[in-house]
Assembly symmetry: C2
DNA sequence: TCTTTATGGTTGCATAAACAACTATATGTC
DNA sequence: GACATATAGTTGTTTATGCAACCATAAAGA
């Protein structure tokens, strides 16, 4: 039942997120090297819009696990970069629907390829089975705390 | 040999670090609730000083996986909070040795207890064996990219 | 309908990160 | 010893986060 007893040391890098920080830095570096001038946080917003275009800021909050002010400002910056457009909803005037511009649509293929490449770099020497378990653990942690 | 073929979807939350973000938020919340007024980033610096007091900023960069400007400013803020003190090295005048104040020494027990509690909250329903594998994966990712 | 409450989004403020450029001191080489 | 190079730390700028407070609109309840 309880995890109370096991050894915690070395587990604190979990908290500081060294692994995901390292992945994020590498992805950013790979973007830059390819001449892609967006931040990974902006990319994470585009990623969800590529899956479904025209969703509200609130939906972006949930799918990117960010709070409302963060999304407001990421959308601000993406709008400045002419990557997305805010379109007021006709049904509910509180809602902004966020749409990709053609320019952002063009980034999908290249950036996803760079993301895949980055994951491959990250996972050298890790087996498929280990990855599956790590995914399960991280998913469970997220479910426990969200 | 190659991880090229396996399914990448759902793995992108690895990049965005949803799990470690969730842990960090919960730890911050637990600190706050206990009346501990430090950020988790400041805590991560103190954590390494509790393990070894009187190390240089450069050593803190390496152990916390942060760059030099980040450590400069974290130490700035910790100094304002009277948690640490910069002491110029006599051997090498480029170096600041960072020492805990008694006040910071007193925080160790309580904050580590809160960190353990947070990990327990995070790992509910996860087995010891799964945790070991997740640790190995994250460690390998870090080694691959650092 | 009028009032309360909930929801979607924005703004202000403090902290932190990434990157580049910089200063000061040490080390290595001729 | 003089000059080049490396190392330790700081500063400036842009972007992002977390939290609280706020505004506008919608939905629910009396």
């Amino acid at each position: 039942m309880s995890n109370n007893q096991f050894k915690k040391s070395e587990l604190y890098s979990f908290i500081t997120g060294k692994a995901s920080t390292a992945i994020a830095r590498r992805l950013q570096k790979n973007f830059k090297q390819a001449g892609l001038d967006i931040t990974i946080e902006q990319w994470s917003v585009l990623y969800h819009l590529w899956k479904e275009d025209g969703i509200s800021q609130q939906q972006l909050c949930e799918s990117t696990f960010r709070d409302k002010p963060s999304i407001t400002r990421l959308v601000d910056n993406l709008e400045k970069l002419k990557m997305v457009k805010r379109v007021p909803s006709k049904d509910d005037r509180r809602i902004n629907m966020i749409y990709l511009t053609p320019e952002a649509q063009n980034l999908q293929e290249q950036s996803m390829q760079l993301a895949n490449q980055t994951l491959n770099e990250a996972l050298v020497g890790v087996t498929h089975g280990q990855i599956e378990i790590a995914k399960e653990v991280l998913q469970q942690v997220y479910e426990n705390l969200k």
